[in-house]
Symmetry: C2
Subunit: 344 residues, 2 copies
């Protein structure tokens, strides 16, 4: 089969603003997959989607990178090979892949052998991918292949952060800082569908507008002076903040959160906060809750919820698989808000 | 009636190492209580106990101090005056006082009008105290007046932190940093009674020894180099950390906590941490949970638990009420681990 293989990370000095920078390290080439392991099926991919994780790995900013790597955690395709009777019902089916491998038996946290599809295991930026039968799911019927590929990693992360860890209830007020990332947009769509009043922040008026089209009650530019005061004035305080940003914004959440509220953290694109106000934390009885990816139960629940609410992922850009370098560059620029999907 | 009244905080330069420093600001004097409000009863106090809160207020280190103040949040006594038929069953009863006033109806967090007994309301370092009927509880029968007075504030704070917010389960491993504070010792006793394996830290070998007498599985001096490595080697990782310390120790808890574990914060005697490792937080799916005081339900549950497990508070020092300045000085020195109780 053919696949995009990453042979090294970009040099530290490289800015991936042009597609050309990837040419030396990321190559479309023939690879021979090992025989299908027992309990696995082979899926011919129809669509895959990008996540920031792919970019971080390409930039060498991810722990434990192994080369060569076939990236890609999101995929929708058709089962073309099975090697066990019990998996035969999947043969020829259109499937969506749960990118959580070896979660384990504890709903609270992933096991030590947990992996995300696409490094170190082979990912979806390829013609085929081999995956455990237990990671296969029927595609919700109202979704095209392109839309389906935009679901797995970001949808799963958002579902667990919002519901399993964040315990969102209908009618609650939610803040999503830094709308624009794939997970943040999914949190927005899920929370709106669950009947929450959702507010967002961004540095981009364009993204605020898009978020409101997706159902946000309002948004605020965090680049404006005293934005927290303005946000509190307009929205009041928040029962739930779902954050992938961190950094210097994180301490502000303790002002914006309602007493007894929850701050769920699934990422930290701006790094660690300069401090944590413990007195405010305990006096307001606030929860700060870590969340990453999701369990098999979370993935089931996500697909049920998408089906029930007829949610369609927000796909902003569709490109052919051959355009992966261009897609990575677009992701690095960070101007889009919806998912970037590759059609195979 | 007579009461200890605080007329000002100690001057910033004063070190309360001797009893004399209190003479100018803390006075035993005659005060005339206002008429008993409707829904209140008057309790003649038999015993009261000190909490760090009393010291912080005396040192001017507490928000919103109003003078003159009658301090004291813990009290055990006898109901001597009621002004309503529905309260008449309490007349002459030995009672324990719940120091949480106006918690409100939300189990998750106290209301805006929440207060702790003893500033701004009159506290228990006095002959009598007036308190809402709903804050009265029968004293668990196995406790003397002296022992009972050591229960309320610290026991309530510990109960909520450990069970309501911390969700401690039998068989789990618990770490209590800085054993010696009243709440920390209560957490130790409650967690041991609940069937947990409890570890403690301190700078004092004497306190570690006392903690082991109270049922701790082991303890470690945080003054020794590389104490976290040694603690992990001996104890493994912790399902629950119940912390009133914070400061430079707080980031270490994220190494010591088990994946999916809970860090409950009820205080910050060493101030705020220099940072918070968000990546570790979300990857380990850790909870950081604020907790303060407790609801009426928490107080009920605490007394039931004490009764059922026949827990006796650890009273280390008993003094007469007249020795309040000496008791505050002893609390400031911080060498004792058990409660300081005043007999009236």
């Amino acid at each position: 089969m053919y696949a995009w293989r990453l042979h090294a990370s970009l040099p530290k000095t490289a800015q991936p603003t042009g597609d050309k920078v990837w040419a030396d390290v990321l190559k479309w080439e023939k690879v021979d997959p090992p025989p299908l392991p027992s309990g696995y099926v082979r899926v011919k991919l129809r669509s895959s989607a990008l996540n920031r994780r792919d970019l971080w790995i390409g930039l060498g900013l991810y722990p434990g990178i192994r080369y060569p790597a076939i990236l890609g955690s999101d995929g929708c395709g058709e089962v073309v090979e099975v090697n066990h009777e019990s998996a035969s019902k999947w043969k020829g089916q259109r499937v969506l892949l749960n990118p959580s491998l070896n979660w384990g038996n504890d709903e609270r946290v992933q096991s030590d052998s947990y992996e995300i599809l696409g490094m170190p295991s082979w990912g979806t930026f390829a013609e085929f991918v081999d995956i455990p039968v237990s990671n296969l799911h029927p595609v919700p019927e109202h979704l095209s292949d392109t839309e389906a590929a935009a679901v797995p990693l970001a949808g799963l992360t958002a579902y667990r952060a919002t519901f399993t860890q964040g315990h969102l209830q209908s009618g609650e007020k939610v803040l999503i800082p830094g709308i624009g990332g794939g997970v943040a947009v999914w949190v927005l769509q899920l929370a709106v569908a669950a009947g929450a009043e959702v507010w967002v922040t961004s540095s981009s008026p364009h993204k605020l507008e898009k978020a409101q089209q997706l159902g946000a009650a309002g948004g605020i530019l965090y680049t404006q002076a005293d934005w927290t005061t303005e946000l509190s004035r307009r929205a009041g305080s928040f029962h739930l903040i779902v954050d992938g940003v961190g950094g210097e914004f994180f301490p502000l959440y303790q002002q914006l959160i309602a007493p007894g509220g929850r701050i769920v953290v699934y990422g930290a694109t701006r790094g660690n906060p300069p401090t944590l106000d413990l007195r405010r934390l305990f006096w307001k009885q606030v929860y700060i809750i870590g969340s990453t990816m999701g369990s098999p139960s979370d993935f089931h629940a996500l697909l049920r919820f998408i089906q029930e609410k007829k949610i369609k992922p927000f796909v902003e850009t569709t490109l052919p698989l051959s355009a992966l370098p261009e897609a990575l560059t677009q992701l690095w620029r960070g101007t889009q808000i919806g998912k970037i999907v590759l059609n195979h």
